[in-house]
Symmetry: D2
DNA sequence: TTTT
DNA sequence: TTTT
């Protein structure tokens, strides 16, 4: 059984960071991945792929990525379902990311990226009090490939926002 | 922009083969991919991933795979939407396969698999006349990696059901 | 920076299991992956891809896979070099697997699969005295996605030989 | 049999473009992919992965990428061998790319990139006449997913350098 | 609506 | 509900 996904695309909006009641960070965002072929009207379309990432990479995602950021995602497809408001079952498909990679030169999208200490669910890297949120997924099902000492340090090249240095 | 998916899992049902008005084959099936980790109740869950494949590999899929078959899929995630019966927009996420691979020894799941000698294009699992179906996707957006002269010939090992030898 | 590989193929020989001086298991094997297209002489060729796997999945690989086994591999490409016997630098490229999956029905290749307690570098799951071997790669660079309680227990379907339940 | 690779990294040098005797373009380059973890000395290493790409994407690669460019590659691992100068067999492992993606903003690495207006097939980095080269691989084993009308047209975002619009 |  |  193999389930592997690799994506490179752009965030359609700023990522949303939440915390589970037990304090586990989870970020959600949508990646727009432009198709390389045109449709019958000659237009280039895109796929809009919902992604979820847990723990430290979630916080890094919230801190380093924003609307329009070019990002790489490695993960797996996860399906689920929930009861819709009309009582009908709604089926969901998303990508659960093991790692998220910032693929933009450091200076390229200057300005309004959220600063350290800013809100985003209350959780920056160093200021992460935990907000109360429903947890419907085990957080420890993730595996994190990477250890980043200080993602703020190095000034150039793509930034790896995955992390294994978990505070819980 | 990269969008790549690799799956290995089992078909939850026999694949469904259809033809577009212009005669392009399209097969749909769901792959059950067991997760490698357990949830908080200690149960192993699975993801149920909807897959679509076009043209010759669609026909091969219908001819060689059935409920329970172990299959490999390479493709990309495609999102879309349609108007629901209640007028609300319904968003969809599926995998569009470039190739589908039969990963079962030839003899392993005997019995009711469609037999050879059936005509291609006549060998769908159920209704193989050219049915009328909305085509909202260019069929030639697919790329097929493989050319299989005679998928019936070799008697052992996994069978590659991708194909470039398209009749249209 | 993304480096992801997914392979499905057959072992060309029994895997080789070794232990580093510090007792870390490492298995090596070569996967034959048949190409899906033919060369100019009309022959189907294969790629022979060297794979390395560390720790528990290494032991599982040695215990469950043998020459001819159909296996799935997820990992990354790793390059390196060493001093050849003639003093020249030799460059190497291999796949370092995060996980290895046994894709064969339990009964399909019966018989001579190595039993528990058998040699293979001395290392089965429960009988793993450590042999002396050069370690030229950090073992903790691996990430293991899976936890398998008892890989001997379940009697059907593909067997996940990845594992996080590490004894060191 | 599945053999899929996805890489994102930087070219270690300008790509080398050659033509086979029959006029098929082939570009070679090496991607440096930084590892996300550190070795035992605490240093971050990289893998240096040799890549080959055929036909139109080869020309696009030569035209759009240069030393230091951030690129995405989708392809497969290919192994081979040749007779070394000392008569010994030398084994090779490389990635044959189906598509190569330029992941850098248009303006980001200015300077000596080949300018537009240069002829395709005349715009190789170095010797762009049709050189005589051994062809030991069928060029039509490649599949190209994409059609790019005019890769020079759109002025922003990552540039898809794959192409199906082949002149032979 | 799910496979072994 | 979508990015450049």
């Amino acid at each position: 059984m193999i389930n592997r996904v690799v994506l490179v695309g752009r965030l359609t909006k700023d990522p949303e960071l939440r915390y589970t009641p037990s304090g586990v960070a989870v970020a959600r965002f949508t990646l727009a991945v432009n198709r390389s072929f045109s449709n019958q009207q000659g237009e280039k379309e895109a796929d809009f792929i919902n992604c979820t990432v847990w723990r430290k990479p979630a916080e890094n995602t919230a801190n380093f990525l924003k609307k329009g950021s070019l990002a790489g995602v490695e993960g797996r497809i996860q399906t689920g379902s929930y009861e819709g408001t009309d009582g009908k079952r709604v089926y969901t498909t998303e990508v659960v990311a093991d790692s998220v990679q910032f693929l933009e030169p450091r200076n390229s999208s200057g300005g309004d990226r959220p600063q350290q200490g800013q809100p985003y669910g209350g959780g920056s890297n160093q200021n992460n009090q935990y907000t109360s949120t429903q947890q419907n997924q085990s957080p420890n099902q993730q595996n994190y490939t990477r250890v980043d000492e200080d993602p703020f340090s190095s000034g150039s090249g793509p930034i790896e926002v995955s992390d294994d240095d978990l505070p819980f």
